[in-house]
Amino acid sequence: MKKYFVAFAALVAMSASGCDDNHFESFHEIRRLRPLAVVKTPPEVAAGEAVELRLVAVHPDSQELITVEWELCVFASGADGDHACEDGVIVEGIENVLARGEGSSIMWTQDFADSDTLQAACEALYSQGGVDIPAYITLPNCDYGVPVSYRAILRCEGPVGCEDDVIVYGSLTLLIDEAAQRADRNENPSIVGLSAGDLSLQQMPPATLDFVADEDVRLTALVNADTAQVFVAPDSEDGAEEREQLETVWFSTHGELGRGGGFYAEDLVELEELQSNTITFGGDSGDEFAGRDGDLVRIWVVLRDNRGGFAVEEGSFVLREVE
């Protein structure tokens, strides 16, 4: 128990230190090449189905060209931040590398194994004598589905460039037959609209937003409550239904967001909290990222459910400072 206290104290100390004047760039400021999300459509895939993985990456300069190299490997044995997929056979009859490609998205069809083969391979992999996996990692439920891992490398190929390549990795779930037949299979959530005050941010050309320096501008990412699906958790003992929890994360190229994101959980946190945010601009008295008269402001909202579904919405407007 002392270890808990020590770990807790360390975290608190580091968190407090994070409040220090270290001038770190905020996670929510877009000042360089940034991956925001990988939207998988659909987020869960069954045998014979196609899936699109779309990497949403942004750069403060919209002229910058971003290239992406993809690779997918079977189960969780392949890619992560440190490792690329290795060619070879992972279990008998199954090649490790499932796909490679370039572009902001990659399409792939789960045709390398049927459910029986998949389940057998899963059990072979995740039981004793299998691949070394740190014991504190939660193992896949082979009766429901297993993960396929993907890895993408982002590079700037345009005139502005970027300092470093960025590696993105993650996974998607390959459903076993029975799970594939479920009516509550996960789907991506959706954002209905994005606005600043009464101004829609999805107009082209971008609308103009009048602002007063250092005064809050209300932002809204309109989300319908029913985009949070009702489902039965695969490991549920009583088969009780529950509703997905949703989370938004906000990003902007200028200004200071009131908060980084919001949550929605039925009966716990109101939908309003998920949808609303504020942003302030410094005007002429602020720095170049504070938002000045004439700046084009781009805003992104990433919506995520707690089963792996994603949606990303982008909006923009031009600033006009008023007294």
Partner: protein, 956 residues
């Protein structure tokens, strides 16, 4: 002829204060001997200390202070001059004084005094305990004053005779009297007996301070007492023994004198009626004068309170230090260490300044001993385990220092009496010598306020009671009303103590102590919108314990002593983070210990004991597994998959031990021991043989060496049936040590030691997947190994010349074997160099100043890849190591702490104002490295800035 006066005085305070037994040469004392009382040595034969001729010509007087050993044979050894004060009369006839330098006494007082004291013969000191009321002869070290006083009456008479003879001679002006005496109270009016007693340097029979009050005037010893009283220390209630009182019958004498006894009492019989001037003029105290009217038919009773010139906390040390049972035990007297800078009066934290102890991060209270984990070191009070000694992991200890007699620190190779620890032991001894008069203190400082009272209930029953509470929560709430903080936080702690000490019988002593502590941190964000739903509701951490400790010490015969201890209580540790994470442990602590000590001869002492822990409890946990050593905290363990369980459990840990103290020859001490332990869980036995040897080569040099085996159970969660490995092995360590102790003089010593530790069966995280039905595939295994080696140097200056301090230096390397890389890596808290310099100096007018400086290699850390990769599943960047674990090191740590004390002394109480400043020059010491969201940018996060802590303390 010129006569000189060599008045010899022992100040009871100093005698007691510096009566440090020459422990290694003494009889076999146990650690419990701290409640012993020392009867000072009695001077039997003194030698003349001639007044240096040149000084005499210049009418110069002096007091020379000498520290010296009085051995068990009564002989004087190792005399060291520690102070000299010169006296003379100015042209106005006023007495002047000046403190001189012992290194440059050009007059020859010191040489004369030194030559005299080595010829003294004493009846040796005795240590009296409840078990041995007749006392045991011991060697002590004491401070002695040799006074060189000119007898002007003799000079005058000689001058008159010389004048008559026409030879001329030095003479004292008629008005050159001690200013503290009435003008007409001439020393010449002293009765003849008094003259004999005070003017014959070779015959000091009348000034033996260890005797009961003795009249020195021409009084009738059979007459009834008509003047009595006590001499107490002003501002305290300490009875002052061996203080000389001088009476002058107004206006022309005669004069009388006597000394206070051990209780500070004095009495005169048959004093002639009249008005007396009372003078107490002692080098340690401010001169005191009073006037008393005394008649022969009634008893005049007086209490005099005299004020100490220098507040020397050492004076109250009555500890008769036990001879070592271990190769290295570093004992700190509580009064000694309370004034160390940077500790806020906290005696227990001083252990962190000793050799072998690494610096704890975040100014925490972890005791990291010789490259072991903090949990490898255990704390005991009166030999019994205690779950927690610090509030908030290190801010303050849970015991007021006044309840403690001493703090023993064993950095390794501790005796068989202690078990279940593989690194070190910190053993606190509560004070058993509770004063016979009521007293206490009230302390107010920036952290907390508290009180402490002690005193007698009856002749044989004494009590201590204390309590303390912090007010950080109150302050923060007040701040929140002014500042728009985004959180509400309620950190607070309190502790309490109650002790009853009962001397039930000459051979049996009992005590009952109730102790408790409660810490709470409750942090709630005003705006929780950025927290995930299940993390809302705040963060709450609470830890508490409440225990009763019962002890019985019995002398069963002249050679057999029994000590029984029992502690019972409960503790709770709770950690709650929103609705999702909780760790709620409730534990009952029950421990018993019984030890029999048998000393059949001077050659051998045997101790046999049983030591049982029984801890039933319940746990309700839903939390990620805490990080192990070598696993970076930065990985944010709170975000990991939690484990969940609710169950009850029982820990049962019985043990038996035997240890021996064998002295086949006086210079050789062999200390073998063996300990048998059983641990359930994980249902394993251990046998720990241990051996220490000390050899006294000379008074200067002692050699020592030790080897021993030590076992401990893994932490409770690591052997849990639900989420640990109930079949885990016991962690073990083999300690090897070699060293030497050098005692250069009475106050300067050097302790040098090299050590090696072999660590085995350390708990590590399993690297293979788990099958819950197969415990061999559990989350933890016992495959870790490690090694630690290094050297320690401890140069210590005991209190002398108003100064004490030490230098401790440790050079070491602590490594763990990394299974993945196949190489040894550095331990999380490996600190190659640890240098601590500290000292405290007493200044005039009750000021004192202390300082502590530390220069330490900082902890190693693991470098991470920059920039981090983006985990699209979680939407976060994840730190990934780019090098070996702990392959880089943070910048060196250095810090200066200063403490200043000022004391005001009032008749019945004292007021102490202190300023304790940590990190005086506000060094930005690095405690770790923090990153931006993707580790593209890093910055150091630094430790505590300059923290001035102002406190006020009233003692009475």
């Amino acid at each position: 002829m010129t006569r000189l006066l060599a008045a010899l005085s022992v100040f009871a305070g100093l005698v007691f204060g510096t009566a440090l037994p020459v422990a290694a040469q003494q009889g076999d004392e146990s650690a419990e001997s701290v409640d012993a009382r020392i009867v000072p040595p009695e001077l039997l034969t003194a030698a003349e200390a001639p007044h240096p001729a040149e000084a005499l010509d210049e009418d110069l007087e002096a007091d020379v202070f000498i520290e010296m050993d009085v051995g068990i044979d009564g002989a004087v050894a190792n005399p060291v001059p520690i102070g000299i004060t010169y006296y003379w009369y100015d042209d106005a006839g006023d007495l002047q004084e000046e403190v001189g330098d012992v290194e440059s006494d050009e007059w020859g007082f010191i040489e004369s005094a030194m030559q005299a004291v080595v010829q003294y013969e004493f009846a040796p000191a005795r240590q009296v305990t409840a078990m041995q009321p007749e006392g045991e002869i011991i060697a002590v070290r004491l401070t002695w004053r040799v006074g060189f006083v000119i007898d002007y009456e003799e000079i005058t008479r000689e001058a008159e005779a010389s004048d008559f003879e026409g030879q001329g001679a030095a003479s004292q002006p008629a008005d050159s009297q001690p200013s503290s005496l009435p003008a007409d109270s001439q020393p010449s009016s002293l009765p003849a007996d008094s003259q004999a007693a005070t003017s014959q340097p070779a015959t000091v029979d009348g000034v033996d301070p260890t005797q009961a009050p003795e009249d020195v005037g021409a009084l009738d010893g059979n007459a009834p007492v008509n003047f009595e009283g006590r001499v107490l220390e002003r501002g305290r209630r300490d009875e002052l023994a061996s203080i000389r009182l001088q009476l002058w019958l107004e206006p022309h004498g005669p004069a009388f004198e006597t000394y206070t006894d051990a209780e500070g009492a004095f009495e005169f019989r048959g004093l002639p009626a009249g008005e007396y001037a009372v003078l107490i003029d002692d080098i340690e105290f401010q001169p005191f004068e009073a006037s008393e009217v005394i008649d022969r038919e009634s008893v005049t009773v007086a209490t005099y309170r005299i004020q100490r010139l220098y507040f020397d906390e050492f004076r109250s040390v009555t500890t008769a230090e036990a001879p070592p049972r271990e190769v290295t035990r570093r004992t700190l007297e509580v009064t000694e260490i309370q004034r160390i800078a940077g500790n806020n009066n906290d005696a227990i934290k001083v252990v962190q300044s000793l050799p072998g102890v690494a610096r704890a991060s975040f100014a925490g209270g972890d005791i990291i001993v010789r490259g072991g984990e903090a949990t490898d070191t255990l704390f005991f009070i009166d030999g019994m385990p205690i779950p927690n000694v610090y509030h908030f992991g290190g801010l303050r200890s849970v015991f007021p220092s006044e309840m403690l007699d001493s703090v023993d620190f064993y950095p390794g190779n501790f005796g068989a009496r202690f078990g279940r620890a593989t690194a070190g032991v910190v053993s606190l001894e509560s004070t058993a010598d509770i004063p016979d008069e009521f007293g206490g203190h009230i302390d107010v400082n920036v952290f907390d306020s508290g009180f402490f009272f002690e005193g007698p209930i009856s002749d044989r029953l004494h009590f201590q009671v204390g309590a303390r509470r912090s007010y950080i929560d109150v302050v923060l709430r007040a701040v929140q009303e002014v500042l728009p903080l985004n959180f509400t936080v309620a950190p607070r702690y309190y502790d309490y103590q109650l002790k009853l000490e009962w001397e039930a019988h000459r051979d049996h002593r009992l005590s009952l102590m109730l102790i408790g502590s409660d810490d709470l941190v409750d942090l709630v964000l005003a705006d929780e919108s950025e927290l995930e739903a299940d993390q809302r509701g705040g963060l709450r951490a609470q830890t508490s314990f409440h225990s009763a400790l019962f002890r019985v010490d019995s002398r069963l015969s002249d050679t057999v002593t029994n000590r029984f201890r029992m502690i019972a209580g409960f503790q709770q540790f709770g950690f709650f983070f929103g609705d999702d994470i909780r760790f709620d442990l409730k534990l009952r602590n029950m421990s018993w210990r019984n030890e029999i000590e048998w000393t059949p001869s001077e050659v051998i002492t045997a101790r046999v004991g049983i030591d049982i822990n029984y801890n039933p409890g319940t746990i309700d946990i839903r939390a990620p597994l805490p990080p192990l050593e070598g696993e970076a905290v930065e990985r944010d363990f709170l975000s990991e998959e939690p484990i969940e369980a609710q169950n009850s459990f029982r820990f049962y840990q019985p043990a038996m031990y035997a240890s021996f103290d064998i002295r086949p020859i006086p210079k050789l001490q062999i200390l073998p021991g063996i300990r048998l332990d059983y641990f359930r869980p994980p249902e394993r036995w251990s046998v720990d043989p241990r051996l220490s040897v000390r050899y006294t080569v000379s008074d200067l040099l002692t050699l020592k060496g030790a080897v021993g085996w030590f076992h401990r159970s893994p932490d409770p969660d690591q052997v849990s049936e639900n989420f640990g490995n109930p079949n885990a092995q016991l962690e073990d360590a083999v300690h090897y040590a070699l060293g030497a102790e050098l005692q250069f003089n009475d106050y300067l010593s050097l302790d040098v030691e090299v050590f090696y530790k072999d660590l085995n069966n350390l708990i590590t995280r399993s690297q293979t997947s788990t099958d819950e039905s197969d415990s061999d595939q559990a989350i933890y295994n016992s495959e870790g190994t490690g090694r630690v080696y290094g050297a320690e140097i401890f140069l210590r200056h005991a209190m002398a010349n108003n100064f004490f301090g030490w230098m401790s230096y440790t050079i070491s390397r602590s490594e763990r074997f990394d299974v993945q890389s196949g190489r040894y890596r550095l331990f999380d808290n490996d600190q190659t160099h640890i240098l601590t310099l500290l000292g405290s100096y007493n200044l005039p007018k009750n000021w004192s100043i202390g300082a502590k400086f530390r220069l330490i290699s900082n902890n190693p850390y693991t470098p991470y890849k920059s920039p981090s990769s983006f985990n699209a599943n979680s939407g976060e960047y994840v730190l990934e190591a780019s090098g070996d674990t702990n392959s880089r090191r943070l910048p060196a740590f250095h810090q200066l702490d200063i403490r200043v004390d000022k004391r005001w002394v009032f008749p019945l109480w004292t007021l102490n104002l202190y300023l304790d400043m940590q990190n005086v020059y506000n060094q930005q010491n690095v405690e770790g490295i923090t990153q931006d969201y993707n580790n593209r940018e890093t910055a150091n996060f630094v430790g505590l800035p300059l923290i001035p802590s102002l406190g006020i303390r009233a003692e009475f």
